[in-house]
């Protein structure tokens, strides 16, 4: 099962490091990363494989959200289907 992680917020040192460390600890594999920075605003998207994850999707969603709150950015993990179904016929 693939998930999409989005990170949105003011750019600062260590955002990717923090998220990636968390994902590695939970056995989540990163398949793709893309990011843009517009006027100091950090916008990142990761495609991750959560089928081997050590925790359930609901827990990952909550924990990533907490990490986001700690470092002052918004982090969301969503099942990729919501994007596939909306943008692909």
């Amino acid at each position: 099962m693939k998930g999409i992680i989005t990170v949105l917020g003011k750019d600062k040192v260590g955002i990717i490091a923090k998220v990636c460390t968390y994902l590695a600890d939970r056995n989540v594999n990163i398949l793709d990363i893309s990011q843009t920075i517009v006027q100091d605003y950090f916008n990142m998207m990761m495609i991750v494989d959560i089928s081997q994850a050590a925790k359930s999707t609901e827990v990952l969603v909550e924990e990533l959200q907490q990490i986001g709150e700690e470092i002052g950015v918004e982090i969301k993990l969503q099942h990729e289907d919501i994007f596939n179904i909306m943008h692909r016929i």
Partner: protein, 452 residues
């Protein structure tokens, strides 16, 4: 592969435009609970509902997390109680409503629909008992919703029931006078009621439905409004295309949630109701869509045409996005649940008569309209008859959910709270119609040939 732009678009819809799945409604048949003893019957329906819907709320919450899209309501609809309770040896169905309320609280749903009767052609003994129990049932319960179907295109309008419902609405208002007559906000009078509607207060689980089913209602007025802002001033072709595209995307989310909910609960998927259902939030309003279309306020000349465009294109876009479409499907125009409509009423742009005209082309009917507390029962029946006639002749569902707020007069505000919103009391044409309503009997079904 999904692109950053697409991901951003979806999340912007959720974050800034109030995209949500409005309701996951589980329809449950109570046919097998029939019994002559009230206590046994109540225990049976309580057990069946709490068992069938045990995981409904939890599943909704899990899906919300998994897809990152809000699922606002989790609800239950049941077989019309007048049918399921038809063999009871009792004069009042109020204890049945209490059992439904208790079951709803146990499983954590905010509304349970189906305290209903279908009397388009005539009343059975059970139907009459149910209708007469409505005022008390809605006063002593919190989450039970009631509906009565008084007409259909096939059988005409049961004017005895229309007359009775005017009285029942007044009684319901009086029984809940201490709470701004909120009982009436949970009572809908239909013509051409549908059996698979997931939206309250008019949801019930029809007799043609299977044992248990998942129906989903989508929403998204904010998303449509924002999309239309991008094409401001462009021609109607562009306007319609934009609504269709947006409705498609919104409905796809509903379809995904419905299929996943159905899989996790082990309950078959019924239908998606393609609806634009507003909430009192700013940016989640049908009236704001009219403004973006070029009208100063909802109710200005052109509003009926604008609503017709909106309604039709929501369906055109939504139909391809879902494998099964049903329910009420269209744009809702409740007054108290839409801050733009409330503003239009306060500014004098929107009247009851204009709303009636709008119901000819919208999803349902006169919805969540507060009227003076001294409105007579005959006048309420007259309003119901007019609305039912529109539904009967035009082969569409129409409904009346009107609240005579006891002790309040035109211009005063009434606060229902939460999703039910707030509303200014609207003036009603108070010329007498009692001579018409008192006639009794039925209006025969209309001719559906000679369509010119």
């Amino acid at each position: 592969m999904i692109s950053l732009v697409e991901v951003q678009e979806t999340n912007k819809m959720i974050r800034e435009m109030n995209l949500d799945v409005r309701t996951i409604t589980m329809g449950i048949s109570l046919m097998d609970c029939a019994h002559t003893d009230l206590k046994v019957f109540n225990q049976k329906i309580y057990d069946k509902i709490t068992k069938s819907a045990e995981k409904l709320v939890k599943t909704g919450e899990d899906l919300e997390k998994q897809f990152g899209v809000p699922i606002v309501n989790k609800r239950i609809s049941v077989t019309p109680i007048s049918i399921a309770a038809g063999s009871l040896n009792t004069d009042s169905y109020v204890p049945v409503a209490e059992a439904l309320d208790k079951a709803a609280k146990e499983v954590g749903v905010n509304f349970i629909g189906g305290f209903s009767a279908l009397v388009q052609k005539g009343c059975t003994t059970g139907d009459r008992k149910l209708i007469e129990s409505i005022p008390e049932a809605l006063a002593v319960t919190e989450r039970v919703c009631s509906s009565v179907n008084v007409g259909s295109s096939r059988s005409g309008i049961n004017m005895d029931a229309v007359k009775l419902m005017g009285d029942i609405i007044r009684q319901t208002a009086e029984r809940t006078a201490d709470r701004d007559s909120i009982g009436c906000a949970k009572l809908v009078v239909f013509c051409n009621a549908v059996e698979d509607n997931p939206f309250m207060a008019g949801a019930f689980h029809g007799v043609g439905e299977r044992e248990c089913v998942i129906n989903v209602g989508v929403s998204g007025p904010g998303v449509v409004k924002r999309a239309l802002e991008e094409v401001k001033g462009q021609d109607f072709e562009t306007l319609c295309e934009t609504i269709k595209r947006t409705a498609f995307k919104v409905t796809r989310v509903g379809q995904l949630v419905a299929q996943e909910a159905s899989k996790r609960l082990g309950v078959p998927f019924g239908i998606i109701d393609l609806s634009l259902a507003p909430t009192p939030l700013i940016g989640d309003s049908i009236a704001e869509i009219f403004q973006v279309m070029g009208l100063e306020e909802a109710g200005a000349p052109g509003t009926t045409a604008a609503l017709a465009i909106l309604n039709d294109n929501v369906k055109k876009g939504g139909v391809m996005a879902s494998s099964y479409v049903g329910g009420l499907s269209g744009a809702f125009i409740p007054v108290s649940e839409d801050h733009g409509m409330i503003q239009a009423v306060q500014r004098g742009a929107l009247t009851l008569e204009k709303l009636e005209a709008m119901t000819c082309v919208c999803s349902v009917g006169l919805d969540m309209i507060a009227i003076p507390g001294d409105t007579s029962k005959e006048t309420i029946s007259g309003i119901i008859a007019d609305e039912a006639a529109i539904g009967m002749v035009n082969n569409k569902t129409t409904a009346v959910r009107i609240i005579p707020v006891i002790g309040k007069a035109v211009g005063e505000m009434v606060e229902f709270g939460g999703l039910l919103g707030y509303a200014p009391i609207m003036p009603v044409n108070s010329f007498n119609c009692a001579g018409f309503i008192d006639r009794g009997g039925r209006i025969p079904a209309p001719i559906h040939s000679f369509k010119n």
